[in-house]
Amino acid sequence: MADPILSVRDLHTQFHGREGIVRAVDGVDFDVFEGRTLGVVGESGCGKSVTARSILGIVDRPGRVMGGQILLRPQGGGPPVDLATLPQAAMRRIRGPEIALVFQEPMASFSQHYTIGNQITEAILLHMGLGKRAARARAIELLDMVGVPQPDRRIDEYPFQLSGGLRQRVMIAMALACDPRVLIADEPTTALDVTTQAQILDLLRDLQQKRGLAIILITHDMGVIAEMAHDVAVMYLGRAVETGPVQDIFNRPRHPYTRALLRSIPTVMARPRTRLPTIEGSIPHPFDRPRGCAYHPRCSEKLGAVCETHEPPPIDTEHRQVRCFLHGGIPGAPPGTQP
């Protein structure tokens, strides 16, 4: 595989509040490749959105990126740039032309005080050096591309005049306004009904094929991952506990948490009216992350004391990585031994 466009390495983002430190992102690693979709999956609160905002350097106060690297490979080669240490002014030129965001709530993510045309052309005027008229033409083109009917009329409407599905299309048009290479979609379909959800996912896939976009698709829905992702990163309490190609993750999941997530997807084969298995216990708040492996209090395959006292290191095997003592890394044991 070619070099990744974007590599996140050991990212730490923390909120220093009055009650203490919330370790929202606590050592995430993953890679994103051109023309491929990385699905980031995990229960709500595990730090997916904070990871996305950390990449763009727009974490809400009092949150801050405390450590790790966010390596963006520049267009046309050259050494990667570390976004985690980039000054604000340079970072602003990354937001939009290099990396763009699509959000979960298409209604709340638009300002209701300006037309969608105003909100799309704003980024074009800022980054692309086009005049007003050319920017408007480009905005109409973008709306057409994402399948908004009558784009030359719709461009002068306000977000509250559009349906939920259209709004999310406009949101995608806005994200693509400056031809980004990486698109981060944070639960882009969670707020939509099933039919619209399928349409939006189709649109994203289509755009990826046409433009070679690298997409980070954040979701809590394994079904969406199965449909869209090439690669998967499973997150638990601010950390990627398992990463790998989608077939491997689905066919041979290695982390007990991944297995639990997969068991909780409904299938057509399931007997009607049987309860879906749910994951036992609830996610601890990142405020008081358990010692050892963070998943051990809920784990059904716990090995013993080692899970409660030691953090499992990342274990790499071709294209895959997992953090679980089931697959090695037990301190004191010779490397490579399986329990």
């Binding site: 005080h113 300006y114 800022l126």
Partner: protein, 329 residues
């Protein structure tokens, strides 16, 4: 949208009518008919009214006839600009009020501009730099502004400006200008005297509006559309001024209507302390002296101006918030 404006306008007219009824009621309030009161008052001040004059007045205002006839006679005179005669001053009410109504309006408007001019930037600063030293400082000053009565502030300022600069800050004109007819020199004189009372009047409202602006903006700053704007690569200043501030502006627009009566009633004491030629002190005097035509007229005029202010604030609100503009379609 046009339907909305028309509806608002008609509603305004209806409110004006209600206010006129209220004003008329005020005029009717003293026991006996007001000609009795008039005669009694003039007799007390040593200039009795002849019986023929009293009869003429009774006929003019239809006294002795049903209430609605009386109201009709009164209102039909009012719309032609005849508000009756002030008993205390023995001059037409319009003449007594004279420039005072415009000066009141001017003073209120100046105070409104100062309120906005201070509250907007300070409110934004306090919200964006929440819990900073500056935020705490402005919060403290704001509470002092709310807690200290305006007239006390006026007295303190008067005292110090007299002590330090030997300047007499009372009034809206220099003494030699007061009785002059209008001219550029007089307008300039007014412009020089206006800021101080306007600032004193503005302060309490400013402190309140800062609190509102700060709270609103703190709410707005947390909303997802702010993140969207940041994700486009806009500078932080641009993000804040274009999006959340715009959304937090609604109370400024609605304040136009709300602030006006507040300023007028708040201005009474200050006007007395500072010797300002506004309608506030006149209204107090008229009520004390039971000078009912004067009191009723002032209430009517203030009421009408508040209705006009509300109408204007509706229009501004429509301009500020497109949702309101489109709701009615």
């Amino acid at each position: 949208m046009i339907a909305f404006v028309v509806r608002r306008f008609l509603l305004g007219l209806f409110t004006v009518w209600l206010i006129s009824v209220a004003s008329f009621t005020i005029i009717q309030l003293p026991p006996g008919d007001f000609v009795d009161a008039y005669i009694a008052q003039l007799a007390a001040s040593g200039s009795p009214v002849s019986a023929t004059e009293a009869d003429m007045l009774r006929k003019l205002y239809g006294l002795g006839q049903p209430m609605y006839v009386q109201y009709g006679k009164w209102i039909s005179r009012v719309v032609t600009g005849d508000f009756g005669e002030s008993m205390e001053w023995r001059r037409p009410v319009t003449e007594v009020i004279g420039d005072r109504i415009w000066l009141t309006l001017l003073l209120s408007f100046a105070a409104l501009l100062i309120t906005w001019g201070l509250a907007l930037p300070i409110g934004i600063y306090s919200a964006v730099r929440q819990y900073s030293f500056g935020d705490y400082a402005f919060t403290l000053l704001g509470f002092v502004g709310i807690a200290v009565p305006n007239f006390l502030l006026a007295l303190i300022i008067m005292y110090f400006s007299f002590k330090l600069f030997g300047a007499n800050v009372g009034g809206l004109f220099s003494s030699e200008m007061t009785i002059q007819p209008w001219s550029w020199a007089k307008a300039w004189d007014l412009a020089k005297h206006l800021p101080l009372p306007a600032v004193i009047l503005a302060l309490a409202g400013t402190a309140q509006l800062i609190r509102i602006m700060r709270a609103n903006l703190l709410d707005e700053l947390r909303k997802p559309y702010v993140v969207t704007a940041r994700a486009k690569g806009l500078s932080e200043t641009r993000v804040i001024l274009k999006y959340p501030v715009r959304a937090a502006l609604n109370p400024f627009a609605s304040n136009i209507a709300y602030l006006f009566p507040f300023l007028v009633s708040g201005s009474v004491i200050i006007s007395i302390v500072l010797g300002l030629p506004t309608v506030g002190p006149l209204l107090v005097k008229a009520l004390v002296a039971q000078d009912m035509f004067l009191a009723g007229t002032i209430v009517l005029l203030l009421g009408v101006m508040t209705v006009v202010g509300t109408f204007i604030s509706d229009l501004v609100l429509m301009w500020v918030d497109p949702r309101i503009r489109h709701q009615m379609d």
